[in-house]
C-alpha cells in the first residue's frame, strides 16, 4: 500500500509518499500553495516534483491536512481566567486551532468590537460549571450574536443554561452547536466533546470556505487542521502503538512565521515530594499556540515581548543593527538573512527567545510557600522538568545551522526558576518535516507511522 500525505500550508503544499511494505518514506516534495485559484494546481505541481525525483507514483490512499488561509482562527470565552476561560483555550488549542485571544467574564463593548475585527472562523463559548453560574455565558451569547461575520459558535458551558442558549442562538440565525461543558465540575476538565465539535465544524465549514473541498473529494478522507496532525504524531510517538513502545514523555516545538506552537506529552505530575498541584489539571497531550510569537508576521509583537538588548547580547550584534534588521523584516516579511551573516545570528537569537517565552507560557509555574511544616512548593500547570526529549519541528528550526542553540530556549533556566521547563533534555530534529504526514498516517496505520517517526527522528 502506498500512502500519499499532503500538508496544505499557507505558503507551501508539502507531499510525502510512504510505502507500507518496505516501511519507508519514498520521497517528499513541495510546491507553492494555490489556494487563490485551485488548490489542486499546487498539489499537482508538488506531485510532479515528487515523481521527477522518485519516478512515476501510483498511490493507493491520499490523506490531507491544511493550515492554509490562516488555518482555523478561533477566539475562546470563559468566566474566570484561570478556570473556564483557560479550559476553553485548552480545548480550542488541542483541536488544532489558532486561538487568537481568550476572553473572561462578561465581555466589554471594546472586546465585542475586537472579536468582530479578529473575524474568527469559530468561537468557543464557555462559562460556569454545570449548575453553576449562568448569567455570564447567556449574556456573552447575546453579545456574540450582535457581532457581524460568518462564524459558528460552539457553546460548551453550564448545561443548565443550554435552553436559554438554544433560544438566543436560534433567534439570531447564527450557526451553533451546544455540547458538553469543558468544566462540568470545579477543576474537572472535559475538553474532548468540545474538541470533537471543533473538528467537525472545521470539516463542514472551513474545508468548504477555504477552497479545500476539491481536494477533499480526491482524498476521500476528512481533511484535518495541520496542528492536529502534528499533535497526533506527538501522541503516537510518546505513547507508542500496539506492541511497539513509544518514546515516553516528550515536548515538541514548532516555530513558524506567525505562531510558535508547543506540544507536551506528559502527565506533568509534581517532580518533588513537597510539591502540591494547584488549579485546573491539564491534559496529558497539551498544545499551546502563541499567536504573538513568530519570526515574520508576528515579529512586531515578538519584538515587544522581548528586549532588543537580550537579542543583541545573544547574537553579539550591536543593538542598533538588531533594531534595523527587525524593522526591515517587519516591513518586508519575505526578507531572508544571508548565511553566516550577523543577521543570521540575530534570527537565531530571536528564534531562541520566541521558544523561551512560548515554553514558559506552556509550562507549569512553581511558587515557594513557607508553612509550619517547612518549605513547600505550589505547582500550577504541568511540571515538565523531567521531560527527557525536546523535538524541533518547523522550517525555522530545520533550516537552521545551529538548531541546538535555538532549542535550548526550551530548557530550564535557573534565573527563571519558577518555570518548570525540562532540566536536561536531549534535542531531536524532525529533519525531513514528516510530523504532520505521520500524524495523518497514524489514523490509518499507526504502527507504520510510529516506526518511521522513530527511525527518522535524529538526535542533535
Amino acid at each position: 500500500m502506498i500512502y500519499l500525505t499532503a500538508d496544505i500550508g499557507s505558503t507551501y503544499t508539502k507531499l510525502a509518499a510512504t510505502d507500507s511494505e518496505s516501511g519507508s518514506i519514498l520521497g517528499t516534495a513541495c510546491a507553492f500553495t494555490t489556494i487563490g485559484t485551485d488548490v489542486r494546481e499546487g498539489f499537482h505541481a508538488a506531485l510532479r516534483k515528487l515523481e521527477s525525483a522518485i519516478g512515476e507514483l501510483s498511490y493507493d490512499r491520499l490523506i490531507c491536512c491544511s493550515s492554509a488561509a490562516g488555518g482555523l482562527k478561533m477566539v475562546a470565552l470563559g468566566l474566570v481566567p484561570e478556570l473556564t476561560a483557560k479550559a476553553a483555550r485548552l480545548a480550542a488549542s488541542s483541536a488544532g486551532a489558532k486561538v487568537v485571544k481568550t476572553y473572561s467574564f462578561e465581555i466589554s463593548m471594546a472586546e465585542q468590537m475586537e472579536i468582530e475585527k479578529i473575524s474568527p472562523d469559530l468561537i468557543l463559548l464557555c462559562g460556569g460549571t454545570d449548575g453553576g453560574n449562568r448569567e455570564v455565558i447567556t449574556s456573552n451569547a447575546k453579545r456574540l450574536c450582535l457581532i457581524k461575520g460568518d462564524f459558528a459558535i460552539i457553546a460548551a458551558g453550564n448545561k443548565s443554561a443550554s435552553h436559554e442558549l438554544q433560544d438566543i442562538f436560534t433567534s439570531s440565525g447564527k450557526q451553533f452547536v451546544i455540547t458538553e461543558n469543558v468544566m462540568p465540575e470545579f477543576n474537572k476538565l472535559n475538553i474532548e466533546p468540545a474538541r470533537k465539535c471543533i473538528e467537525e465544524l472545521f470539516i463542514n465549514r472551513i474545508v468548504e470556505a477555504k477552497g479545500l473541498s476539491l481536494l477533499q473529494k480526491m482524498s476521500g478522507y476528512e481533511i484535518i487542521p495541520t496542528p492536529l496532525a502534528v499533535m497526533r504524531a506527538c501522541e503516537l510517538l510518546s505513547k507508542g502503538a500496539a506492541g511497539e513502545s513509544g518514546m515516553g514523555d516528550l515536548m515538541a516545538v514548532d516555530l513558524g512565521g506567525a505562531t510558535t506552537d508547543i506540544y507536551s506529552m506528559s502527565e506533568g505530575r509534581p517532580s518533588l515530594e513537597n510539591m502540591l498541584p494547584k488549579g485546573l489539571p491539564e491534559p496529558y497531550a497539551k498544545r499551546s499556540v502563541e499567536g504573538d510569537l513568530g519570526m515574520r508576521y508576528s515579529l512586531p509583537s515578538l519584538k515587544e515581548a522581548t528586549d532588543i538588548r537580550i537579542i543583541s547580547a545573544l547574537s553579539d550584534v550591536p543593538a542598533d543593527q538588531v533594531e534595523e534588521w527587525l524593522d526591515q523584516c517587519i516591513a518586508n516579511p519575505d526578507t531572508v538573512a544571508v548565511e553566516d551573516s550577523p543577521q543570521q545570528r540575530v534570527e537565531e537569537a530571536l528564534a531562541r527567545v520566541a521558544i523561551e517565552i512560548a515554553t514558559e507560557r506552556h509550562s507549569g509555574v512553581v511558587e515557594s510557600v513557607y508553612t509550619p511544616l517547612g518549605q513547600m512548593f505550589a505547582l500550577t500547570g504541568k511540571d515538565l522538568s523531567e521531560v527527557p526529549a525536546v523535538i524541533g519541528i518547523g522550517g525555522a528550526l530545520i533550516n537552521s545551522k545551529d538548531p541546538v542553540k535555538i532549542l535550548a530556549g526550551s530548557k530550564y533556566d535557573s534565573q527563571r526558576f519558577m518555570y518548570a521547563k525540562p532540566r536536561s533534555p536531549k534535542y531531536y530534529l524532525d529533519s525531513k518535516y514528516i510530523f504532520a504526514s505521520m500524524g495523518l498516517l497514524s489514523s490509518v496505520d499507526p504502527m507504520l507511522a510510529l516506526k518511521i517517526l522513530k527511525r527518522e527522528l535524529k538526535e542533535i
Partner: protein
C-alpha cells in the same frame, strides 16, 4: 429543591488536610454539593471557585494559628468580585495562643464573616447553621 453549593478549603499556607476531608464528607452527607479546594487555598481561589459554581456559601478552615491574617480582606474581595452578601464561615484554630473566643469571634465578624466557630466545633453545628442560613 436544588442542592446548595458550598466551597470549602483550608486557607493560607496551612496544610492540615484531615479535618478538611472530614468536614467535606459530613457536608456532602448532609446533602450539600461540595466544592472542596483542599489545603493551601488562597483568597482568590475561594472566590474564583464560588464564581464558576455559583456557590451559596464559602466555608474557610484554618488550623495553624494564622487564620486571622489569612482571612483579612476576604469579604472586601468577595464584594469586588460580585459575590455580594455571600455567607462566609470560618472555623478551626483561628488564632495563636489561648485567647478568649468571644474576642476572636468579634474580630472575625468585624472582618465581614457571617459565622465563626471555636476549636472543637462538631460538623453538625455548622450543618444546622447552614440549613437556617441558606433557606
Amino acid at each position: 429543591m436544588k442542592k446548595k453549593t458550598i466551597v470549602t478549603g483550608v486557607i493560607g499556607a496551612d496544610v492540615h488536610a484531615v479535618g478538611n476531608k472530614i468536614l467535606a464528607y459530613a457536608l456532602e452527607q448532609a446533602g450539600y454539593n461540595i466544592v472542596n479546594l483542599g489545603v493551601m487555598v488562597s483568597q482568590e481561589e475561594y472566590i474564583e471557585a464560588a464564581l464558576e459554581t455559583n456557590a451559596d456559601a464559602i466555608l474557610v478552615s484554618s488550623l495553624y494559628g494564622h487564620g486571622e491574617i489569612d482571612c483579612n480582606g476576604l469579604r472586601e474581595k468577595c464584594d469586588e468580585a460580585g459575590l455580594k452578601n455571600i455567607p462566609l464561615l470560618a472555623g478551626g484554630n483561628l488564632v495563636v495562643g489561648k485567647q478568649e473566643f468571644s474576642e476572636v469571634e468579634k474580630r472575625f465578624l468585624d472582618m465581614g464573616f457571617t459565622k465563626v466557630y471555636p476549636p472543637g466545633t462538631q460538623p453538625e453545628t455548622t450543618i444546622e447553621d447552614l440549613k437556617i442560613m441558606l433557606q
